[in-house]
């Protein structure tokens, strides 16, 4: 009925958060300090990770909105949702939004969480490998 509105609402929030994080990261990165610049560029910025969630939420909501247009549940005239035309259907729509819609948003966010966790583990593993390699080179030089 209108379950896609819940992930779309979350997408608005995450888009605003992404913009805020991006400007914060830009402000934190001082181009004159090489040390800081290296540290920042070695880590994947959080705004980049949030943009994955944005793409999933916006893309999914757009495609689901199309499905609702296909089924005649979303129309081009006010109130845009056919379920809003009578009280019973409006209640059913709200119930669907609070169950299916919320579950959709939670599932997509959980999948994103797994992606972020996996990327963090990969980055950490890479960092450890790099440190070990550097240590090997250093010990080789001292010998």
């Amino acid at each position: 009925m209108a379950c896609f509105l819940v992930p779309a609402g979350e997408a608005i929030v995450t888009t605003v958060l992404t913009k805020a994080f991006k400007s914060k990261e830009k402000a934190e990165m001082d181009p004159t300090s090489e040390e800081v610049h290296e540290a920042v560029s070695a880590k994947l910025p959080f705004s980049k990770k949030l943009s994955w969630l944005n793409n999933m939420l916006w893309g999914g909501s757009a495609l689901l909105a199309f499905e609702h247009v296909w089924h005649g549940e979303v129309v081009a005239w006010f109130p845009f949702l056919t379920a809003m035309e009578n009280h019973d259907e409006a209640m059913a729509m709200l119930h669907e939004m609070s169950t299916v819609g919320v579950s959709m948003a939670v599932l997509v966010t959980a999948a994103w969480g797994v992606m972020v966790l996996a990327s963090d583990v990969i980055m950490k593993k890479q960092e450890l490998e790099d440190t070990a390699q550097l240590q090997e080179i250093k010990t080789g030089d001292s010998e």
Binding site: C3, F4, P7, W52, N55, M56, L57, W58, G59, G60, S61, A62, L63, L64, F66, E67, W70, T99, V100, S103, M104, L107, V108, A111
Partner: protein
């Protein structure tokens, strides 16, 4: 059927993205995430439908399957149109800019 077609589209684009990675100048990552997002949402919808309908969920009417199949293909096409528009607006290779300033 719509879920199945979208999952297939997501898998194919993910393979294409992986083949090209780390070069993402075609912004295939965006298309992947869009299809995966929609797939997850439809999967959720399918779980709720299964809870309501039970085993009947797996034996849809032929007319419903055809309608859902058309919907799935249309969704894939719409996803590609959104991706193309995004690609042209972002213009990561600067081709559109070059064409306009030539």
């Amino acid at each position: 059927m719509t879920l199945l077609i979208t999952v297939f589209a997501a898998c194919v684009t993910t393979v294409l993205w992986y083949k090209k990675a780390p070069d993402d100048s075609m912004r295939l990552g965006f298309l992947c995430l869009m299809y995966w997002g929609a797939s997850l949402m439809w999967m959720c919808d399918a779980i709720f439908e299964y809870k309501e309908m039970g085993a009947e969920f797996f034996t849809p009417e032929v007319s419903d399957m055809i309608n859902d199949g058309f919907l799935g293909l249309s969704v894939v096409a719409l996803g590609m149109i959104i991706w193309l528009a995004y690609l042209i607006i972002k213009d990561p290779k600067g081709i559109v800019k070059k064409m306009l300033t030539r």
